[in-house]
């Protein structure tokens, strides 16, 4: 019985195999795209290409226009303008100090957030992220309500003769407020990516928690931390809304580069263009640096 049925089955298998093969051939021919389908394919690709080109020119055109509208001579001239120099100096010092504050305060916060759970962690993490979605002008008003002369904390501070609003310190506070999430989020991800086994290995080899942090965790997470710090610096450099609300617009004291552009627009367009070009150059440098740093990630071993 079995012997008899086997060849039959075998045969049917073979037949089926042949039929499958033919079907496949048939399918194969079906898959060779017929003319209308092919032109649809080309149209789709062309449409996507056009969309990409449009999107790119939408971003590139304004940048290009900036450079084309401002002749080199006028840029060089504007660079001697005391307002530009003051704004450049103030922007670089405040953004630098802001980045320092954000890194020093944000690194332990990011590490704790990446490694430990504690009551209210969800809330703390959401609060840390809040300034990213909060409109800068709202952040400015909020800071004013907190640290202004009549504000919650500002009221106490002013009784000690300390006034924050409309000073350079207010510029830094506004920048710290809006840029800290950019660093903390990136740092948190970088710390999460450090294998816990590395920490454990360091501890069993005799390293204290501090030594483990500074000699193992920090170096392994360093590229991520650096790119986070650069992002925070860039965000500080471009900060406008919160600064003008909380710190005002005083040349040499609170007038950073974006504020100087706003002021110059009302008078000399060349000056506004000059500052804009400096900021665009910074933005480019930031993108390039972050790309280089995030590419170099340590392999696990």
């Amino acid at each position: 019985m079995t012997v008899d049925s086997n060849p039959a089955e075998d045969g049917s298998f073979r037949e089926r195999g042949l039929a499958d093969l033919m079907n496949q051939d048939h399918h194969g021919m079906q898959r060779a795209i017929p003319l209308p389908a092919r032109s649809r394919d080309i149209a789709l690709k062309a449409g996507l290409g056009l969309l990409l080109a449009l999107a790119m020119s939408f971003i590139a055109l304004p940048v290009l226009a900036l450079f084309l509208r401002s002749p080199l001579s006028s840029i060089a001239e504007a660079l001697h303008d005391p307002m530009v120099l003051d704004a450049l100096r103030l922007s670089l010092t405040t953004s630098g100090l802001t980045t320092l504050v954000v890194v020093i305060m944000g690194t332990p916060i990011a590490y704790v957030s990446a490694r430990f759970s504690y009551p209210g962690k969800e809330l703390a993490d959401s609060l840390i992220d809040l300034p990213v979605i909060m409109p800068p002008a709202v952040a400015g008003i909020a800071l004013l309500m907190a640290f202004g002369r009549m504000g919650l904390a500002g009221h106490c501070l002013s009784s000690f003769g300390i006034s924050i609003a409309f000073t350079t310190l207010a510029v830094i506070l506004a920048q710290v407020f809006v840029s800290s999430p950019f660093y903390i989020r990136q740092a948190r991800t970088s710390f999460e990516d450090v294998d816990v086994a590395l920490e454990n290995a360091a501890r069993t080899l005799g390293a204290s928690r501090m030594r483990t942090f500074f000699y193992v965790i920090l170096p392994v997470a360093m590229n991520g931390l650096l790119s986070g710090a650069i992002m925070a610096f860039a965000r500080s450099l471009g900060e406008f809304g919160a600064t003008i609300m909380f710190a005002g617009n005083f040349q040499g004291r609170t007038q950073t580069m974006p504020l100087a552009i706003y002021t110059a627009m009302q008078g000399d367009l060349d000056v506004a263009l000059c500052i804009s070009i400096i900021l665009v150059a910074f933005s480019f440098a930031v993108i390039v640096l972050v790309k280089i740093l995030t590419r170099r990630v340590y392999k696990r071993c």
Partner: protein, 230 residues
């Protein structure tokens, strides 16, 4: 001697273990995934804390819930080779091995001399300057072992020390590992999935099942324990 008598509530079951490992003895721990093998190593190393019980090494309590003793991992003097080796990827082979001595503030000349000896013994001298991330699997294993041995540990813990190697290297490393461990003369616990490791390196073996020692015996007997070793 290492004496363990601990309890810990894990997610799915209670870990309750009583084990002794004498000097120069190697205990092979086998068991299903998630039966508590790696957790036990972490508890001994101080990376995780038992709920109660006592862990003592050469009569010195590392953990004692009644006396409130819990020695931190950095002060336990235990050499731990992790399953993934956990080499520090940003450091050279040399710096990886020197790490434990530097953490102990050992004088530089002594570090140089001892690291050199370990590098030569492990056949790693030529690649001492290579980044740990860039060396081969077998070399990583040797670096991890040398790094754990250089601190002259009083106990060795090895978590699946050969699993990351290809089969041919495993056979060679098995013999090498056994000799190195013997030379140390300290108690040693090796977690493994591979029965060949058990017979080649162990003095006795324990089968863990849901946090308890289900069987214990000679390495040769493990093969008769049934499917539990998978």
């Amino acid at each position: 001697m290492l004496e363990i008598d601990i309890e810990k509530r894990l997610r799915d079951f209670d870990l309750h273990l009583r084990l002794d490992v004498k000097r120069g003895q190697t205990l092979m721990l086998v068991g299903d995934n998630g039966c508590g093998k790696t957790t036990l190593l972490n508890l001994i190393a101080g990376l995780d804390r038992p709920d109660r019980g006592r862990i003592a090494l050469e009569a010195r309590a590392l953990y004692d819930s009644e006396l409130g003793i819990d020695v931190p991992p950095e002060a336990r003097g235990i050499g731990y080779v992790f399953q993934s080796y956990a080499l520090f990827p940003h450091m050279s082979v040399y710096d990886n091995i020197a790490f434990g001595l530097r953490a102990r503030k050992t004088p530089k000349e002594e570090i140089d001399e001892r690291v050199k000896r370990h590098l030569l013994e492990a056949g790693l001298w030529e690649i001492r300057r290579a980044k740990a991330a860039d060396v081969s699997g077998g070399q990583k294993q040797r670096v991890a072992l040398a790094r754990a041995l250089i601190i002259e540990p009083q106990l060795l813990l090895l978590d699946e020390p050969l699993s990351a190697l290809d089969v041919r290297r495993q056979a060679a490393m098995r013999a090498e590992l056994r000799e190195t461990i013997r030379a140390c003369g300290v108690p040693c616990i090796i977690v493994t999935h591979d029965l060949r490791d058990v017979t080649a390196m162990g003095d006795f073996a324990c089968l863990l099942e849901r946090g308890r020692v289900a069987m214990r015996g000679r390495p040769e007997d493990v093969a008769t324990w049934g499917a539990g070793q998978e």
